[in-house]
Amino acid sequence: MAEIVIRNLRKEFGAFTAVEGSSFTIRDGEFFMLLGPSGCGKTTTLRMIAGLELPSGGEILIDGEDVSQLPASRRDIAMVFQMFALYPHMNVRRNISYPLVSQGVARAEVQAKVAEVARILGITDILDKPVGGLSGGDRQRVALARAIVRRPKAFMMDEPLGALDAEFREHMAEELRALHDRMGATTVYVTHDQLEAMQMGDKIVVMNHGVVEQFGTPQDIYDHPATLFVADFIGSPSMNFLRFQGALAAGDSAVRLGEVSIATPEVQVATGPRDLVLGVRPEHVTLSDAAPYRGRILASEYLGTSQIITLDCPHGTVKARVPSGQGVRSGETVGLSFRSGTLSLFDAATGRALRTAANAAVHHG
C-alpha cells in the first residue's frame, strides 16, 4: 500500500513532448483516474509510474522513495493492460503464478496464493484451461488475478475495460470497484471515458496535450471545471458556453449578456474588458416564458425521463435538459433562466476559470 507523489514529471519523445510538468499526489488506497482524450499523455504518465518508460525529468515518489529511474521489476507495482496481455503459451494457473515464480516463492506457497486469488475472483474452475479460449470477462479476471496475487504496493490499469463490450463493462466496473474497496490498494486507472472516471474514481486528473488541466474529486471537476477544456470534456451533453465581452469588478455577482443581466456566483478577482465565457450545465437551464433571456428552439431529443432541447440564443447554441413532460415546439421562442449558484465564468483567451465564490476552494491544476 502506497502513496504516490508526482512532481514536475516530463516526457519527451524526440521533439514531441508527451507529458509536460505534471504534478499531483495519489493518496494511499485511492482509486485514482487519469482521464483525457487519446494522445493527452495519460498512458505515458501511467507507464512512467509503472517503470515502462523513463521520465525525461521530474520525480516519482512511491512511499517517499524516488523510483523514477528504477526498472519496472524493482518498483513492486502490478499492471493490468487493455489487451490483458495474458501469456498465450501458458494456462491460467501458470499465468497467475508467473509474478510469484519470478520472486522465487516456494511452490506450495504459490499454489496456496493462486488458489486464494482464484477464489476471490471466482475463477477457480478455469485454472487449468489455456487462456486462448476464455471469454473477455474471464481474461479480465485472470489479468486481475495475476496483478493482485503478488500484493503489490499499487496497481496500474490501462483502460482495462476498453476491450469489453458495453453491457459487460458496466458489470466489470462494479466488480473492479468492489475489489478495490476490499483490498484497499492504491490504484491508478487510465481511461478516456469520462463516465467511467466519474463512476469509479475517488480522484480524477484531467489531462490534455500533456498538461494536467485539473485535479480533484469527480464532483469538484464536474461542478467547478478549472478550464474550458475540462468543462467541455466532462458531462454529456457538455457544458454550454455563452460568449460575451465585458469587464468584471471584484464583488460583482452578475454579468450582462446584451441587455439581460444574469446572476452569477460572486466574482473575487477583477478583470479588465475582454472576451469572457459563461458556462452553464444543461441541467441548470430551465425554460420559462417569463425569463428575459430568449432563445429559439431548434430541436429536441427524447431520452425517457428527460429531454435535451437545443436552442439558438444570441450568444451561442444552448442545450437544456428538461423533464420530458414539458411540451415544446420547434421554432418557438422561449425564455431561459439559469441556476445562478452553479454558473462558471472563463477567460476566453486563456481558457481558465475566473475565481468566484463558488470555485474558490477548488484545486486548480
Binding site: A50, G51, L52, P71, A72, S73, I77, A78, M79, F81, Q82, M83, A85, Y87, P88, H89, Y98, P99, S102, Q103, R146, R150, M156
Partner: protein
C-alpha cells in the same frame, strides 16, 4: 441449381483446383521418384533404354557410394576367402573388392555441420537483431535495415573473387568455420527481415507484463517473446537451412580437401569407375533426407508461418 456463394467455392472449381495440385505434385515429385528408384537399380538397369520402371532392387548403388573398390587379377580373385558380409558379396558380383571407405560419409557430415551450424548462427544473431530493431529506438534504424536488406540484392556469387582472396589471406579457405560464417553472412539478411516481421506482430504488452512481474528484459525476451516467435523462428530456420544445404558455387570455389560439403562431392562420384548413376542417385537420396526430415518436423510451424499475420486474431 445451387445458389451462388461468396465464401464456398463451387464443386467444379474445387475439382479443378485439386487437379492442378495433383498435377503440380506429380511434376515436382517425378524427378525425386526417379532419383529414389535409380539408387536401387543395378548399373545396367540404370542406363537401360527404354528405362525400366520395374526392376530387381539392388543395394549396389549405396554400397558403391560408401566404398572405394579395386579390380584384382583373376587368380587372386579366385583365391579370396568367401565374402564375409553382404556388402562384400555385392561388390564381388562386379568382379571387384572393397579397397576402403569412400569420403561420402565425411562430406555428408561436413554438410550437416556447416548447414546446421550456419542456420543456428543465423537464427541466433537474427533473432537478437530483429528483436532490437522491433523494440528499441535504434539510431539510423531504417538505414541499417535497408543496408542489411541490400546485401541480398546481388547474387552472392558476384563477390566470389574478393571472398576467395580474403579467405585465403585469413586462412578460412576450406575450413568449417569459414563456410559457416559465409553462409551465415548470406542468410542473416533474410533472417533479420523475416524475424522482425514476426516479432513486430507480438504485442509489446506481453513483455511489459513480464517486466512488471519482476523479470529482466532478457528474461522477458527468453520466456515470453521466444516461445511466441517459435513459428517465425522455425520457418526462418528452414529457409536458412535449405540455402546453406544446397549451396554449390561457394562450396566448389572455397572447399576441397577438408571442409568440402556434399553438393560438390556428389557429382565427382560419377568419375570413379565409369558412369555409376546408382551411386550418384543414392548420394542424392541421402542428401535430400535431412532437409526433408527437418521440414517435416517443423511443418506445423511452417504452415502457420506462411499464413502468419494474414488474419487478424
Amino acid at each position: 441449381m445451387s445458389a451462388y456463394s461468396v465464401t464456398e467455392p463451387s464443386r467444379l472449381s474445387k475439382s479443378v483446383a485439386a487437379l492442378l495440385v495433383v498435377g503440380y505434385a506429380v511434376i515436382t515429385l517425378l524427378p525425386l521418384l526417379w532419383i529414389l528408384s535409380t539408387g536401387f537399380k543395378s548399373g545396367p538397369d540404370s542406363i537401360s533404354y527404354p528405362p525400366k520402371v520395374l526392376f530387381e532392387p539392388s543395394l549396389e548403388g549405396y554400397v558403391n557410394l560408401f566404398t572405394t573398390r579395386t579390380r584384382i587379377g583373376a587368380e587372386q580373385f579366385a583365391a579370396l576367402p568367401p565374402p564375409e558380409t553382404w556388402y562384400d558379396k555385392i561388390v564381388r558380383q562386379s568382379g571387384t573388392v572393397i579397397a576402403g571407405p569412400s569420403r561420402f560419409g565425411e562430406r555428408f557430415m561436413n554438410s550437416v555441420i556447416i548447414g546446421f551450424g550456419s542456420t543456428f548462427l543465423s537464427i541466433f544473431l537474427g533473432t537478437l537483431a530483429a528483436y532490437a530493431f522491433s523494440r528499441f529506438r535504434v539510431p539510423l534504424k531504417d538505414d541499417l535495415l535497408f543496408f542489411i536488406l541490400s546485401t541480398r540484392m546481388m547474387p552472392p556469387i558476384a563477390v566470389a573473387i574478393p571472398i576467395y582472396l580474403m579467405y585465403r589471406e585469413l586462412g578460412l579457405s576450406d575450413t568449417h568455420l569459414g563456410m559457416i560464417l559465409l553462409y551465415t553472412a548470406v542468410n542473416i539478411s533474410l533472417a533479420v527481415w523475416l524475424l522482425k516481421g514476426f516479432i513486430d506482430e507480438i504485442p509489446r504488452e506481453y513483455e511489459e507484463a513480464a517486466l512488471i512481474d519482476g523479470y529482466t528484459r532478457f528474461q522477458a525476451f527468453r520466456k515470453v517473446v521466444l516461445p511466441q516467435a517459435a513459428t517465425g523462428i522455425a520457418s526462418t530456420a528452414i529457409f536458412c537451412l535449405i540455402f546453406a544445404w544446397n549451396e554449390y558455387a561457394f562450396a566448389v570455389l572455397l572447399t576441397s580437401g577438408n571442409a568440402q560439403t556434399a553438393p560438390p562431392f556428389i557429382p565427382t562420384i560419377i568419375g570413379v569407375g565409369g558412369q555409376d548413376w546408382p551411386a550418384v542417385a543414392a548420394g542424392a537420396t541421402l542428401f535430400l533426407l535431412p532437409v526433408m526430415i527437418f521440414t517435416i518436423l517443423l511443418r506445423k510451424h511452417l504452415l502457420r508461418g506462411i499464413t502468419f499475420g494474414a488474419v487478424r486474431k
